[in-house]
Amino acid sequence: MNQTMNKVLMKGNEAIAQAAIHGGCRYFFGYPITPQNEIPEYMAREMPKVGGVFLQAESEVAAINMVYGAAGAGARVMTSSSSPGIALKQEGISYIVGSEVPCVIVNISRGGPGLGGIQPAQSDYYQSTRGGGNGDYNFIVFAPANIQEAADLTAEAFEIADYYRNPVMVLGDGMIGQMMEPVVFRDTPKRELQPKDWATTGTGGVRAPNIINSLHLQPADLEKHNEHLQAKFRLMRENEARSESYQTADAEFVFVAYGTSARIVRNVVDELRERGVKAGLIRPITLWPFPVVAFKELPDTVRGVMSVEMSCGQMVDDVRLALNGRFPVGFHGRSGGMVPSQQEIIEACLDMLKEVE
């Protein structure tokens, strides 16, 4: 009974919102968009109870700039949206990285381009892992595959954002946002954090002014600033990549999938193994930094690798880069809110195995 005492059945969106509060978030600025509306709704209900602030902004553009202001003032702050809304936030995200202030951004993504649809999709991979706005930058992108992981990673995202003074994105899809699963709110791994002595809290007349700024008009200054940012991104690459390898030790065929697709592919791996095909799965938990080590560790028994995505083929580029020609790389994807079935993935695998014979 004790085991289940704190276990609650929760929608992904609500679990993410609760996990943010659990992780110390006290400010939320957002704008309604399907399929993430339960996040601002939960925040509107729960933030005041913990002495925090929920504010519905006039637009996604305003919301991310409120986040920018609050983060500069030293707060733990978050915004959430879905694909087209995240596109609108790119300007602010670029400034936030440039100014080195921490925040958490949640994207419960849907199909595109344009207004697209409202059903789950993974077509924001490029946007999330390549910066997304103007300039040379990156941020850590978490891709949870279940509600427990979504909660754990969201709470931890605030620690990591503060640690690097850089935004962290939690990238779910409509399925992760809308489905309910059991979740336990457990202790968050803590990092050694420096005091936010850079925050604009008023000089109090006792120190020089703090300035939150991304403008560097002298090319040499801007280049130096970029080198400083790149050094941080290198640290993240070295220390923050995460993935799960499932049944890869003796695999002849390895799938790569994250989030909702990874859940389906996991079943596919089991089914293929029952049929005698030694299949395995690499599930990136961070999309950036991409978990290249997991690919280096693949055994020589592998004959083919396939990226399975709810997109027209985006992560597959990173799979090719990680493998650098070592194995043939294939792709199977559905888009627009269509979710690949186990059967079609199995067929794609068998077809590719025939091809690489």
Binding site: N65, M66, Y68, G74, E91, T200, T203, N213, S214, L215
Partner: protein, 258 residues
């Protein structure tokens, strides 16, 4: 020797980059003096815009943020919500506030956000080289309205103070000018009143200040001051458009507006 005049502590020692005859410098000084006189410098967070005053974070001697173009009121909202007992102000030009940032300014006013906005209206884009602004007057020549602004083609100049004064969240809205010493003094009073209004938690406050741009208007500094008085003021009448009834402001600033 007794000191009869000195630089305000509200400004750093950084030299202004503004063009000769531009009144941004005067307005910066007024804001700084008011914050110093209110003893709020150590308690203030300012937000700089994108435009000619983009570098104002180097000039104001208090904590500062540099916002994206037009987003200063949203950024100031984020700061004020985290730090409700600090003075938070945004300094914006006409392109920043009245063009790309219209949504942000209207909704900051609508929420009665307890921030003070210093809105510098010089009827042109200065930083980018004299293009048409949302407040460019009908007939006014700019680099993107070379034949003069034709309202039938490109719309009418916006009267922002009048517009914002219709919003209930706006506690204090006043338009002033800095084209002569008397008006500079009135502007300072208006700025003081706006900050007092914020300090008393009465809601959103804004002072719109008619300002010059000799470089892009193609005039001498003196001609520019005259142009403010003779050409801008008839279209943008000075006066208070909204003030909280309960607040005791430091003397009546500006003339009442019908």
């Amino acid at each position: 020797m007794p000191v009869v005049f000195e630089r305000t502590r509200g400004l750093t020692e950084k030299e202004f980059h503004f063009c000769p005859g531009c009144t941004h410098g005067v307005i910066h000084r007024l804001v700084a003096e008011v914050l110093e006189e209110m003893n709020e410098l150590g308690n203030t967070v300012g937000v700089a815009p994108v435009g000619c005053s983009v570098l104002s974070y180097q000039y104001f001697n208090c904590d500062m943020h540099e916002a994206a173009h037009g987003r200063a009121p949203a950024m100031a909202t984020g700061i004020k919500r985290v730090l409700p007992d600090r003075m938070v102000f945004a300094y914006q030009g006409d392109g920043d506030l009245a063009s790309i940032g219209t949504a942000e300014i209207i909704h900051a006013a609508g929420r009665g956000e307890k921030i003070t906005v210093i809105f510098v209206n010089n009827a042109i884009y200065g930083m980018t080289g004299g293009q048409m602004a949302p407040t460019t007057l009908a007939g006014q020549r700019t680099t993107t309205s070379p034949l003069g602004r034709d309202p039938r083609q490109v719309g009418f100049p916006l009267r922002v103070s009048e517009m914002l004064a219709t919003i209930d969240g706006a506690a204090f809205i006043e338009r002033t000018s800095v084209h002569d010493p008397a008006h500079i003094r009135k502007t300072k009073k208006a700025i003081r009143n706006a900050f007092e209004c914020q300090k008393a938690n009465q809601g959103f406050s804004m002072v719109e200040i008619l300002s010059t741009c000799p470089t892009n208007w193609g005039m001498s500094p003196l001609e520019s001051l005259d142009w403010v008085k003779e050409t801008m003021m008839p279209y943008y009448p000075l006066g208070n458009f909204r003030r909280p009834e309960a607040v005791t402001v430091s003397g009546a600033s500006g003339g009442g507006h019908a």
